[in-house]
Symmetry: none
Amino acid sequence: MEIEKILKEIVKKSEGKILLIVMDGLGGLPHPDTGKTELESASKPNLDEFAKKGACGLSIPILPGITPGSGPAHLSLFGYDPIEHQIGRGILEACGIGMELTKQDVAIRGNFATIDNNHIVTDRRAGRIPTEENKKIVETIREKIKSVRGIEIVIQTVKEHRLAIILRGKNLSPLVSENDPQKEGLPLRKIEPLKEEAQFTADVLNEFLSKVEEILSGIDTKAKTILLRGFSKLPEIEPFQKRYLLNPVCIASYPMYKGLAKLVGMEVINELETIDDEIKALIDIYDKYDFFYLHYKKTDSAGEDGDFKRKVAAIEEFDEKISKIRHLNFEVVCITGDHSTPCLLKSHSWHPVPVVVVSRNLITDSVERLTERECSKGILGTIRSTDIMYILLACALKFEKFGA
Amino acid sequence: MEIEKILKEIVKKSEGKILLIVMDGLGGLPHPDTGKTELESASKPNLDEFAKKGACGLSIPILPGITPGSGPAHLSLFGYDPIEHQIGRGILEACGIGMELTKQDVAIRGNFATIDNNHIVTDRRAGRIPTEENKKIVETIREKIKSVRGIEIVIQTVKEHRLAIILRGKNLSPLVSENDPQKEGLPLRKIEPLKEEAQFTADVLNEFLSKVEEILSGIDTKAKTILLRGFSKLPEIEPFQKRYLLNPVCIASYPMYKGLAKLVGMEVINELETIDDEIKALIDIYDKYDFFYLHYKKTDSAGEDGDFKRKVAAIEEFDEKISKIRHLNFEVVCITGDHSTPCLLKSHSWHPVPVVVVSRNLITDSVERLTERECSKGILGTIRSTDIMYILLACALKFEKFGA
């Protein structure tokens, strides 16, 4: 990224605190009956107040037309090139449940699955076994398999049928194929190296799976093997502290977002379940940090489910909660989404996301509502979401002049 | 830059004349009492007339959030990548006072300073000695030191305590440290090479400084040594004539901008003091060139001083003067700033700058006033300032079609 060529030269410490609020999947599309988007349908006086007081725009998550996953969408918001820095799912999953990772590790997402005697996959999620059952099985595997071919195996429950696995040791490569046949009724696949250097890793994994299947065959559970995917190593990402001279914190309830925040060096506040917990945490730790990333999940979940009413309600719920931070004295507040999740599409989408930045060092515009159409008329214009971080830093006076 | 890959292929000569007016530090921020920016507060019928007749937009000087110095900001306006082409302060200073530079030269900015008998810096600006005193001292040094270790020393007064020095000869490197301790009460530093190849240059400079101090010790002046900084060589910049097939001229009063213009190959009109001089020069030389860069400094100076009223007055003064060029038949006129200098910040800033382009080959918009907020609604949208030059060239029909 262009800006990385000069960032070291210009970044400086300053007093101002920055709050970045990410309402996951914020943007939407018009409801066919009303012609109004989720944001246009919601009653949200507080969010609209931010739009009135701030400078508005639309933010393109990656590139025009490109729908991002949560990983790239967040990296972009954090000011990193999302195409240069690609994060594997295994890494995200492992980070998200608090597993510590080292640079040589290969992290993997796993699903417990049911197979028959002929290794045909009959249930790719092992009947979504309860989290407690998962934990017991994982404990058993952990006791019986400490390592394979000298490679340490670290294994941990995520929830229901999901788990995360870390291979720790030398000469590991994430370039191996999945064992998941993708459809039920098909045989389990062997893990194959995608490049020669990954032969050893494939051997380790196939031997690990054999041992797991042997253990599970003796236990009364639907979990009979593990489908592995998202093989990945830690990406090389310069942390916020070094890159921006910030002392950042993540306030989020979902593992994925906590994992992403850790990757860029944020401290993560744990045991937050609800948005009330998050707002309370924000108030409690206000004095301790200078960059706060606050994540709100419900807008995205409702969008993914295609539940227009619930997404509107989620926006309205957040609108009410956000009024409680009025007394905090942030130099800069930004409210945006990592991407759009229109109920109409029941999925993430490429559509530019409304963004508002409130700072005394910006010119306000005439936008009065935080909606897609209104924000398109804002003074920030349509920007790339990687730009947002630099605008926030500039507004908090955290940059020196570039050149003489 | 992308466009450099095809520029040679498409650039052509054409009749139309281009006028680029740079109102330095044009953009601002709202006054806390009125909510209006400097441009919104000024009465400027002529500038607004340009906005009405032209296509408007906002221009990002370097990248979102990045505050530029005058060097990068101008290079950008001239269509060069400001990150690729970084210009040292010494070069700018030397160019600005009309010193001719060759490729092997190292140019340096100097301040006369006061030191005591123990080499402690007691005044980093030697009491801001009058320019006349500076000139006399420089004359004495020039007579007594023609060269050091075979390196020719060219030395010239800038003004008050400031001077420019050129080292001319072989094996010179700008990679040396400053002798300025940055604070008064600290000892003068020795100049050190930052890379091995700069040892010789450091030796030359330390010997030069010893000789200067010996000379100054015998003169009745507060100037007792020279603080050196901004060591630099000419950057490699393809001149306008070759790059754009233009015959360009600079109409500016301040050394810095004349220096920048020379760097890109512009002819520089000298001995212009006021905006009246500049306008008169523009009219006088209208026939001789096809690209005119006219620089107006007062908007920036007032912004840097945080003097809102004076910045408004500077805008109004320019507005009046600009009416005098109505009769000139430019194919394209552009009015913009190199960057914003909001009185609120008393410094350059990153905020996008209003830009208007008047040309019969553009679609006008509904913008009626040259202000930040109005221009954000213009048909040009929010562009990078490097794009402006190419839009001007295109409007003057100076490009062939790209590809078949």
